[in-house]
């Protein structure tokens, strides 16, 4: 059952995978976004994700529907975390099942690209030096351009 949702607690990939079950599917591709220990050369300790939930749900649902239509895949499912995450935590999970692997890879990549482009979620990184800051879509700091 294809859908998008925000999760305020830990994402369990195996539980989410059940959304992709389809006896006609021969390929399944998943993407997981993990919190890295560094960004733009700075050591990261944790992240906060903030979302405008009502619009995020709408935009996410539109992306899922577009992916099903555009790539002709069987099932599509995506979950994005909000709240505080530490190194290694799962920030976003995207899964696609399809008859063949080409469409599954293409759809999965397109969906994560669209989520990062369109869904109203913002990342605030906290660094080992105690600083923090909101990021742009390309992971550069918002604050830098004010300098």
């Amino acid at each position: 059952m294809s859908s998008f949702r925000l999760a305020s607690g830990a994402i369990d990939p195996r539980a989410e995978m059940h959304a992709l079950d389809d006896a006609g599917a021969g390929a399944c591709v998943t993407f997981e976004g993990w919190v890295r220990n560094h960004n733009e050369g700075r050591a990261v300790t944790r992240l906060d994700y903030q979302a405008y939930a009502a619009l995020a749900d709408n935009e996410g649902t539109v992306i899922i529907a577009e992916a099903l239509e555009r790539f002709g895949v069987k099932q599509v499912h995506a979950v994005h975390r909000v709240g505080t995450l530490v190194i290694g935590d799962l920030a976003v999970w995207v899964g696609v099942s399809a008859a063949h692997r080409g469409a599954a890879f293409d759809a999965c990549r397109w969906i994560i690209d669209e989520i990062k482009l369109r869904v109203p979620i913002w990342k605030n990184e906290h660094y080992t030096d105690g600083a923090s800051g909101w990021l742009h879509p390309d992971n550069t700091p918002v604050a830098a351009e004010q300098a």
């Binding site: 976004g33 994700y49 903030q50 979302a51 405008y52 009502a54 619009l55 709408n58 994005h80 920030a91 976003v92 994560i112 989520i115 990062k116 482009l117 369109r118 869904v119 109203p120 979620i121 913002w122 990342k123 605030n124 909101w134 990021l135 742009h136 879509p137 992971n139 918002v142 604050a143 004010q146």
Partner: protein
Amino acid sequence: MSYRLLYFASLADAAGVASETVDLVAADPATLYAHLSERHRFPMSRERLRVAVNGALVGWDHALADGDEIVFLPPVSGG
């Protein structure tokens, strides 16, 4: 006219609140943003933002109605 504003990311930091209700005259989001940007010293010009009214993306010339919920969206950084 009374509007409900929700703020996120750098706009919330600048406003110092996550939401507020404002009473002022603004026909569209562009005019409203000009007012609020001056009041809160928002770190971004309108060209960098999108705007949503009552949970749906709209144009900057969208006609506002009393009681609308308005969100100015900084560039997103999910994923």
